[in-house]
């Protein structure tokens, strides 16, 4: 029985519950027990019992929620010591939308502190292990969410993507991760990292689950002034072919150094599969892509330096007592923030400071315009841009922690879409030396339906089976 339950995708489980073939309580308890005995450190909090839930399209299929989403009465720590034990008085709209659609909260997942990282080694609650190889990282910053889904500890999970933090861990863990069009999902209640880049989205076993989850996630929220209405309903994809579809590959980027041979091979194989389904593959250029990384590492830290100023020990979270206010601020923030967060706050503050604004932040926002227009130009003649999601497979725990710059290079392929605010999905394209490789499919704003369609067709043809990573039942 557990094997059959485990084998159900989220969509199939929802259908079974709706038909009456499966009880919600049974499903919840199955996952709750697995989450509670997690050895990967993917969870920071697990429900002790099934919460009240309502009927709905997500029909009782529980969700794992990244720690940085505010969940009323449940610890929401954003992977940081400065928020240890903090329980908010309200729930993020994204989570509320899913709950209203019938998905109860299974647990909160571990993450890089304040979403800053690409390996989940920056968490104050310990690193997360990749279920494919426990000596390796799951990716980040939504490492806990990705590991939980990949290990079969949660049917699906909510994560966030700022520079690649859904897509890259999805790739490293052999699952599906969707970064939406910026603004399609409300940010209200998401503990902020970089306001103009942060995007909530699904991490799931397959593309159909991602579509079902996404459909119930989106919506204009009056509490988020940057949120927009999605112009059309999200369809559950059915495509099995890619006839008439043009896929553009940014050759210079993909052929660069730093991309593992195994990753490149898997990518090429995926392109072949695509051709077999009727797609045309062409070359394109994103000349500003190398600079996109730099622009991101100015813009994101700059916004973060401001967003994290509220962690000052006054109203919530950690306070280091002191006799004068300044010492309270500086000691609280010294003790409460991890090294990577401090680095980014310092870089961000520097980039915004008097005399440097034009050279750094001002310049980076111009690079951003160039990146967006280059992508837009490509989408005039191609349906999608495709790349490997990550230049490498999962690397070893501790392997890159001494070199922040090396860590930043993980985001090479994902960052341009973050800067442009356009959607992209990562789906498994295969294994390289036993470790998953991800394929990224990117489209223009609000093209999620078409992206999900193409991804569905490719997923079917690739036939990746991630169940070997599930932890023992």
């Amino acid at each position: 029985m557990p094997e059959e339950l485990q084998a159900l995708s989220a969509a199939d489980a929802a259908a079974a519950i709706a038909k009456g073939d499966l009880g919600r309580g049974e499903l919840f308890e199955h996952y709750r027990a697995r989450a509670a005995s997690d050895e990967l450190n993917a969870f920071t909090w697990v429900a002790e019992s099934m919460p009240e839930s309502v009927d709905g399209p997500l029909g009782g299929v529980p969700i794992a929620v990244k720690d940085l989403f505010c969940t009323e009465g449940i610890p929401s720590q954003a992977g940081s010591k400065i928020l240890a034990g903090y329980c908010p008085p309200y729930t993020a709209t994204a989570v509320a939308n899913l709950e209203a659609a019938g998905a109860p909260i299974l647990g909160k997942t571990n993450q890089d502190e304040f979403a800053m990282g690409s390996s989940n080694e920056n968490s104050a609650y310990g690193p997360v292990q990749n279920p494919w190889d426990r000596s390796r990282v799951p990716g980040g910053s939504s490492g806990g969410s990705a590991a939980a889904v990949a290990a079969g500890l949660a049917p699906w999970a909510l994560g966030t993507d700022t520079g690649g933090s859904i897509r890259q861990p999805a790739a490293l863990c052999g699952i599906v991760g969707l970064k939406p069009t910026y603004g399609a999902v409300s940010r209200y209640g998401m503990i902020a990292f970089a306001s103009s880049l942060d995007s909530a989205g699904p991490l799931t076993r397959n593309v159909t689950d991602a579509a079902l989850f996404y459909r119930n996630l989106i919506g204009r929220d009056s509490a988020d002034a940057t949120s927009v209405s999605f112009p059309e309903p999200i369809a559950l994809p059915t495509s099995e072919r890619l006839d008439g579809i043009t896929l553009a590959v940014p050759a210079a980027l993909v052929d660069g150094d730093g991309i593992e041979a195994g990753v490149r091979d898997s990518f090429e194989a995926a392109l072949e599969t695509a051709r077999g389904l009727g797609a045309t593959v062409v070359s394109c250029e994103i000349p500003s892509a190398p600079y996109a990384l730099s622009a991101y590492y100015v813009i994101a830290p700059a916004e973060a330096s401001s967003n994290l100023a509220r962690f000052d020990g006054v109203r919530y979270g950690l306070r280091v007592d002191a006799t004068n206010l300044d010492a309270m601020y500086t000691e609280t923030r010294h003790d409460g923030f991890g090294d990577e967060v401090k680095r980014r706050i310092l870089i961000g503050t520097y980039a915004l400071s008097s005399g440097y604004y034009d050279a750094y932040y001002g310049r980076a926002q111009r690079v951003r315009t160039v990146v967006a227009s280059e992508l837009s130009a490509i989408f005039q003649t191609a349906d999608f841009i495709v790349t490997p999601t990550s230049p490498t497979v999962a690397f070893g725990l501790g392997e890159r922690t001494a070199d922040p710059l090396a860590m930043y290079l993980s985001d090479l392929f994902t960052i341009p879409m973050s800067l442009a605010g356009t959607p992209a999905i990562s789906i498994p394209s295969g294994l390289s030396d036993g470790l998953p490789v991800g394929l990224q499919i990117c489209g223009p704003a609000f093209s999620e339906n078409r992206i999900l369609g193409a991804a569905h067709a490719l997923e079917r043809a690739i036939g990746f089976d991630g169940s070997s990573a599930w932890s023992a039942l």
């Binding site: 910026y182 940057t226 330096s305 306070r319 000691e331 870089i347 520097y350 315009t369």
Partner: protein
């Protein structure tokens, strides 16, 4: 690219204490990162406008209607220190 003094100044702006033994290592790390970032100086950005906001939002204003405030005990619940129904903090003066 960023020296000790500049780092101390930036840390002050960000209200981040930096211990003496953290200063040099942090300055080195940040310099490496900033050097890499500076490569984007190579791009010709003449005439390009900055993107401050992605996407087009029409209707981002809010009607002037009252929503219930948090009950005070909820607002004060996570406070590290409370006095007289307010958030207690050390004095802003006195270094």
């Amino acid at each position: 690219m960023i020296d000790r003094d500049e780092l101390l100044h930036v840390a002050r702006l960000a209200r981040l204490a930096l211990r003496d033994d953290e200063l040099d290592a942090t300055a080195a790390e940040l310099s490496t990162i900033l050097d890499h970032i500076a490569t984007f100086d190579e791009l010709d950005l003449g005439g390009v406008e900055p993107t401050a906001h992605v996407g087009d939002v029409d209707d981002s204003l809010r009607a002037d209607e009252v929503h219930a405030s948090l009950p005070r005990d909820i607002a004060l619940a996570p406070a590290p220190a409370v006095r007289d129904d307010g958030f207690l903090v050390p004095s802003p003066q006195g270094e």
